[in-house]
């Protein structure tokens, strides 16, 4: 296109008010683009309100795989008057702004590159302002050469449940959008040429939440109790939607405390169980994390991080709850913390979380965040890989729930399966599970529980090095910063910079120190204000990472931001 500097990669942003259906348009467009053979990525940022405010969705279309957020906006579809002011600091003279004439009228033509379209008028003719979104979607689809049949089938997928009449209206609106798109292309004001890749057609299109959800199902999850809280609610919705199909129980509990205690009851009685929550909700669950540690009844805990403390910024992103997860619960006991940064890891680690929880009989965390939970991109099919391991034993009449063993793992029976009785107690207990105040038994039990940590350490997922193994600068990141750091490094084309990506944060892998010591310069990117992971690294290895780039305004790192920081760091 005439004003796209990146050639084979375009960033389109839709911006409008909550309740205007921006997310619906995102779903249609992303699917239509992927089914036309484009690599596609989308991310949204939104306010914590049901109506009004300004929400935006970035859609990247590219000839190569893209999995991260960029600051750049090539085309802005402004669907409200507030859209341009809202995105002011991301708009440049190269940004093409398409919007309804009434929304653009107050903007200076000298400052902005504007194209006025009568979206609202057309939408009203079709039955309401709400259709302006689908008209806009049609226009984008046309500009990007999405076959009409593909677009229409996506409309069908999304709107069928609303009835034939709505589908018909939305199709008409979409086709109107195609007309507009064609006019814009014919006029020469927009020209987009992005290579398609037929391989993409066979790929999946999903978001970070669904990648985790599929992993949980594949991990044999059979019970989930949760209390709705952004940004973990979409995972709850996904699991609830598939509970009948996969014979799972999903229950919306009265509070988070009930949720995790239910999950422990579920796992105790033989169903792999999980909860999903966010920071403050998890804070309520903390006591039961200790219970899990004490009674050695597993639980998988998904935390969708958002900025805190307390309610914080409900709809924004952060990596602020590592310490919360790491130090949650009274007393000392083993735990495992995963932080996937891409969909494949999200799927595999979520699946693995259930096997490890079941095997080590301890809490396992999956740390995600609003950004990661909400991003969509095309993904090659997952390798089904791991199996649901069966760690439950059939008990005999001599069964002791807390039998002292060399590796600390006591075979776990469940009630009603075998002749034995399964006794678990939140007090310190003897091998039978009955409460005790015998201090020698206490020491034996603490040691037994902590021996499991040694076993877990041997199975820790190592950090992954991306780039040259002979690096000078080492970039460190964990979880959702994976995408932008990876893309920034690929843009920089500097073979002296490599990226060490951590997907398991705790226990820290023993190779960490070697990777760090090999670097001349080290830099870490974290979405928090204190560098929680760099602190953990220092605590466990003594290594002080030289430069910490910390972002805590609630937005994810953009590719450009990482590039600029790295340039300044390596040149400085």
């Amino acid at each position: 296109m005439s004003n796209n500097s990146s050639g084979n990669d375009i960033s389109i942003v839709l911006c409008g008010e909550a309740g205007q259906g921006i997310q619906t348009v995102e779903t249609i467009i992303v699917k239509a683009l992927k089914n036309s053979g484009y690599n596609v990525f989308s991310t949204k940022e939104y306010m914590s309100r049901v109506r009004g405010g300004e929400n935006s969705t970035e859609i990247r279309v590219s000839s190569k795989r893209v999995i991260s957020y960029v600051n750049r906006i090539d085309i802005l579809l402004a669907l409200s008057e507030g859209a341009v002011p809202h995105l002011e600091n991301r708009i440049t003279s190269k940004t093409l702004i398409i919007g309804d004439e009434t929304h653009l009228k107050s903007l200076s033509k000298d400052k902005y590159n504007l194209i006025g379209v009568k979206f609202l008028e057309m939408a009203k003719e079709m039955g309401g302002a709400i259709f302006s979104n689908v008209i806009a979607a049609g226009a984008i689809a046309c500009i990007l050469d999405v076959p009409k049949t593909v677009f229409e089938s996506c409309i069908n997928d999304i709107f069928t449940r609303k009835g034939e009449k709505i589908v018909k209206k939305d199709k008409t609106a979409g086709l109107k959008g195609y007309e507009i798109g064609k006019e814009l292309v014919d006029s020469g004001r927009i020209k987009v040429e992005i290579e398609k890749d037929s391989k993409v057609l066979d790929e999946l299109i999903l978001d970070g939440t669904v990648a985790v959800g599929l992993g949980c199902i594949a991990g044999g999850c059979k019970f989930m109790a949760s209390y709705p809280m952004t940004p973990s609610t979409p995972l709850q919705v996904f699991m609830a939607a598939h509970s009948e199909e996969f014979e799972m129980v999903f229950e919306q509990s009265e509070d988070e405390i009930a949720a995790i205690n239910m999950a422990l009851g579920g796992f105790y009685a033989g169903a792999r169980s999980m909860v999903a929550t966010s920071g403050s909700g998890f804070a309520l669950m903390e006591e039961a994390v200790g219970l899990s540690g004490m009674i050695e009844t597993p639980v998988v805990i998904y935390i969708g991080q958002r900025p805190g403390p307390a309610v914080g910024l409900p709809t924004r992103t952060s990596q602020e709850d590592l310490n919360l997860a790491l130090y949650s619960g009274p007393g000392e006991f083993p735990r495992i913390i995963f932080a996937p940064g891409n969909f494949e890891d999200a799927y595999k680690l979520s699946q693995k979380a259930f096997n490890l929880a079941d095997h080590y009989q301890t809490p396992v965390f999956i740390l995600s965040d609003q950004y990661f939970a909400d991003v969509f991109y095309n993904q090659p099919e997952f390798d089904m890989g791991i199996k649901v391991e069966d760690h439950i034993v059939k008990t005999n009449s001599e069964y002791k729930r807390y039998e002292i063993t060399d590796n600390g793992i006591s075979p776990r029976g469940i009630p009603g399966f075998g002749e034995g009785l399964v006794v678990v107690d939140s007090d310190e207990h003897d091998q039978m599970g009955h409460l005790t105040e015998n201090l020698d038994t206490r020491i034996k039990m603490v040691d037994k529980r902590l021996r499991k940590l040694k076993e877990i350490e041997m199975e820790t997922v190592p950090p992954k090095l991306l780039g040259n193994s002979e690096y000078e600068t080492l970039v460190i990141g964990w979880g959702s910063t994976y995408g932008p750091i990876k893309e920034a490094l690929s843009n920089l084309e500097d073979d002296k910079i490599s990226f060490l990506y951590f997907k398991q944060l705790y226990p820290l892998h023993h190779s960490t120190e070697q990777f760090l010591n090999k670097a001349e310069k080290t830099i870490i990117f974290e979405n928090n204000a204190q560098g929680q992971f760099s602190d953990l690294i220092k605590l466990k290895t003594g290594f002080e990472i030289e430069k910490k780039v910390l972002k805590y305004n609630g937005m994810p790192f953009s590719v450009e931001e990482i590039e600029n920081n790295l340039k300044a760091f390596t040149e400085g």
Partner: protein
């Protein structure tokens, strides 16, 4: 079946001599043996407090969890394995105080479990502070001038929420308590049995004799299907009625409402992951 089946060898019982808990334990063992329930199919779930220790003294599967949190645990155990008989036992502080929210919502949820609440109107384990059911003016080291809060009325609340089985018993009457317990365990749905019991160490007001003098049994004229009448009886405080106040089987149980048991009644631990369905789901994301 011999009630000795439920005896735990070498149990180091932590209750004070003369505690009402002993008779509740004895009553429960006799009830279970008369009902031919085996220790293997029974799960005793409790929270914290002197009552919460009861499962350690009765041979069964046990989940002795956190203070106030036993009801969510019981609900989930029953939900993932409906073949188990789940009895939740804890005190008035654990169930009505720390666990008040769960008490309310589990009545709404209606799992097929039995909820025994030892109600001695005082905190025993923490040495004599007020409980949610302590009566007004009852003085303690923390409520120095006496309790000024309205006592929690578990029965009235349960009836207001259309609980499926609501009863009150007195630990001093093993025979009647056993009959109520049997009906509660047999009853399909959530069954609350609030059991008055004396705390011989800390409650010098609501003693064995006090409970005897201040309670009476509902007679045959009481119709447990009449919710309004049940509520009237539940708010009586001049003398406290004992017996089955209210019963309703209108609502399906939590387990019955779960889609997992629509066609297959087996416990969830016996179900394998449906890889074919997972593949299909993944395929649908193309």
């Amino acid at each position: 079946m011999d009630p000795k089946v439920f005896d735990v060898e070498d149990a180091d019982v932590a209750w004070c001599p003369g505690c009402g808990n002993f008779s509740i334990l004895k009553t429960l063992k006799e009830t279970l043996s008369e009902m031919e329930i085996s220790p293997q199919e029974l799960v005793m779930v409790s929270g914290i407090g002197q009552a919460g220790k009861l499962p350690h003294y009765i041979k069964s599967n046990v989940f002795n969890g956190l203070h106030g949190r036993s009801l969510p645990v019981s609900t989930a155990i029953k939900a993932v394995n409906p073949e188990l008989i789940v009895i939740n036992v804890s005190g008035d502080g654990c169930t009505y105080g720390e666990g008040g929210n769960h008490f309310i919502h589990n009545i709404r949820r209606n799992p097929d479990i039995t909820n025994i609440v030892h109600n001695n109107m005082v905190y025993g384990l923490t040495k004599g502070q007020a409980s949610p059911t302590s009566q007004r003016d009852y003085s303690t080291p923390l409520q120095i001038e006496g309790v000024t809060l309205e006592p929690f009325n578990p029965l009235a609340i349960a009836i207001a929420l259309k609980a499926s089985f609501v009863a009150r018993a007195f630990s001093g009457d093993i025979k009647e308590t056993k009959e109520i317990l049997k009906k509660a365990i047999k009853h399909k749905g959530y069954a609350l049995i609030d059991i008055f019991q004396p705390c011989v160490t800390f409650n010098k007001v609501n003693t064995y004799q006090w409970f005897k003098n201040n309670t009476y049994y509902l007679d045959e004229s009481h119709d447990p299907s009449n919710r309004e009448e049940a509520f009237k009886r539940a708010i009586e405080t001049k003398k406290y009625p004992l017996g089955i106040f209210y019963k309703n089987s209108d609502n399906e149980t939590f387990e019955e409402s779960l889609s997992s048991y629509k066609t297959d009644k087996s416990p969830l631990f016996k179900r394998e992951l449906r890889v074919d369905k997972l593949n299909k789901l993944i395929e649908s994301m193309k």
